[in-house]
């Protein structure tokens, strides 16, 4: 039995870069991460092809239509965010994490950076591949949109960013709620089902719901003003970013105050 001495560097302090490296190793070493992200991209592409192939109305916002498949992927990237936090609670890993990094807001910030980067990359991949596949599947009778047309590249890029921001909202919800099932229920119920309900009864707040922002602000070539006036693409990006920031800040505040 021997223990080998490690050269001790007692000076200094852990920094964001070390914590982010830990979070990157954690995220990439779980098969579920890769399954979920693959499904995100595959789902978006499959729906884009189906929508593209069934396009009849050439006057519609065809870019927005083929990007409709991102809503399934949004749920999945939201789940990646939720589980990045709640799986630590269900397994007990959270205690190892917080004993290694007692600065809890820093620990959550590093997790947000890693989850954000991974869901951003997957989201942009899903959005671009879905757009190109959906466009290719369109019948020859409709004029397929191209990335060079005004607003199209913006719609595809912001659509990808939407995955990242919904992933971060999921992470924030995970930090607030701490329980996988409950946090995913709030994500689905609050972000999706509530959107359907609100669409019927409260038009005035509809434009601010996360899923409505992605579907009707970020991914549009022409802003939607009728029957509901949705936010413009950039305003939508700003509001959705703010929502993610508020959710994460609330999660960080609670994480720092509650017992682990």
């Amino acid at each position: 039995m021997t223990t080998t001495a490690v050269p001790h560097e007692s000076r200094g302090h852990y920094r964001f870069s070390q914590v982010a490296r830990m979070e990157w190793i954690k995220l990439r070493s779980l098969r579920s991460t890769w399954w979920t992200l693959t499904l995100t991209v595959a789902g978006a592409v499959a729906i884009a092809v189906a929508v593209g192939a069934n396009t009849k109305d050439a006057a519609a916002d065809l870019t927005n239509n083929v990007l409709a498949g991102t809503s399934l992927g949004l749920l999945l990237s939201g789940a990646v965010g939720v589980l990045a936090m709640t799986s630590e609670y269900s397994s007990g890993m959270i205690r190892a994490t917080l004993a290694a990094i007692p600065n809890r807001p820093l620990a959550l910030a590093a997790k947000a950076a890693v989850v954000g980067a991974v869901t951003f990359a997957a989201g942009e991949g899903a959005s671009f591949v879905a757009f190109l596949a959906g466009r290719a599947a369109m019948p020859a009778t409709v004029p397929a949109p191209s990335l060079g047309q005004p607003g199209v590249l913006r719609a595809v890029m912001l659509g990808g960013a939407g995955f990242c921001l919904i992933g971060l909202i999921g992470l924030g919800l995970g930090a607030i709620i701490r329980h996988s099932g409950a946090a995913i229920a709030v994500l689905v119920g609050g972000v999706y089902l509530a959107a359907q309900f609100v669409a019927l009864v409260a038009h005035s707040i509809m434009p601010y719901l996360p899923v409505a922002i992605v579907a009707n602000s970020l991914t549009v070539v022409r802003p939607i003003v009728d029957p509901i006036r949705f936010l413009s693409p950039w305003a939508g990006l700003g509001v959705l970013s703010l929502e993610a920031a508020v959710t994460l800040a609330a999660g960080a505040w609670l994480l720092a105050r509650r017992d682990a």
């Binding site: 001495a5 200094g12 070493s29 007692p102 017992d259």
Partner: protein
């Protein structure tokens, strides 16, 4: 050196830890004893900065846990078996923790070797037996080569050979000058490894003494332990 000073913790109406003070000194194994539910795990979580005491403070080498620059290089903790994601391999689990405190990747392989998990390092840790899970927890505690170690019930789930291995590990860690705190609810498990004992009941300190001194109080060490803990329960008026 761990200095626990007057810490208290209450969960609702239940007092888990009640004005508890003791030291864990370097160079010896300190056994942390008490019946189940006496507040040992809560105390250890407070030492590791995971739970916040309602009163009192804990210092490690003179500093609060959250002030440590590289926590894993100063304190190694094993709180519960299976404090890892079941889908992650032992190697990835340790690599993540090593990265967080700037420890070299080679250290992961070293601790896997020390605890005898090198052959199982790629397997999903969720498939581990309880004994292997304990070994992974001990590997994580040793990762930063810390001067202070806290192990909560480390022999749980280990076979007799594993228990002997833990005892020898604890003794050698203390002999290297580290402060080692090991909890157990069974005095017989700890008597062979510990030099010093901190006994608690109902969250309160019952004894802070050497193993030899406690044994001299009664016909046997075990008898002396039961007299202490029974006394604590009687004083709470909960024994009929």
């Amino acid at each position: 050196m761990i200095e626990v000073r007057g810490i208290s913790k209450r969960y609702g109406a239940t007092v888990a830890v009640d004005r508890l003070s003791f030291d864990v000194r370097p160079g010896v194994v300190t056994g942390f004893l008490g019946p189940n539910g006496s507040g040992k795990s809560t105390t250890m979580r407070m030492i590791l900065g995971l739970d916040r005491p309602d009163a009192g403070s804990v210092r490690i080498g003179g500093r609060r846990y959250r002030e440590l620059g590289w926590p894993l290089r100063e304190v190694g903790g094993l709180l519960e078996a299976r404090a890892f994601h079941p889908g992650r391999s032992a190697r990835a689990h340790l690599a993540a923790l090593a990265a967080s405190n700037g420890l070299p990747r080679s250290r992961v392989e070293e601790v896997l070797g020390i605890v005898g998990l090198a052959g199982a390092a790629q397997r999903r840790a969720g498939k581990f037996s309880l004994g292997m899970a304990q070994r992974l927890g001990i590997a994580a505690a040793l990762l930063g080569d810390p001067g202070v170690l806290l192990l909560d019930e480390p022999v749980n789930g280990l076979d007799p050979e594993g228990i002997r291995w833990i005892r020898n590990l604890l003794k050698s860690l203390a002999a290297q000058g580290r402060a080692v705190l090991v909890s157990s609810h069974l005095i017989s498990e700890i008597a062979l490894a510990a030099d010093h004992l901190v006994v608690i009941g109902q969250g309160r300190l019952l004894a802070d003494t050497s193993v030899a001194e406690l044994a001299a109080r009664s016909t046997s060490l075990e008898e002396a332990f039961f007299q202490l803990t029974d006394g604590a329960i009687e004083s709470q008026g909960q024994k009929s």
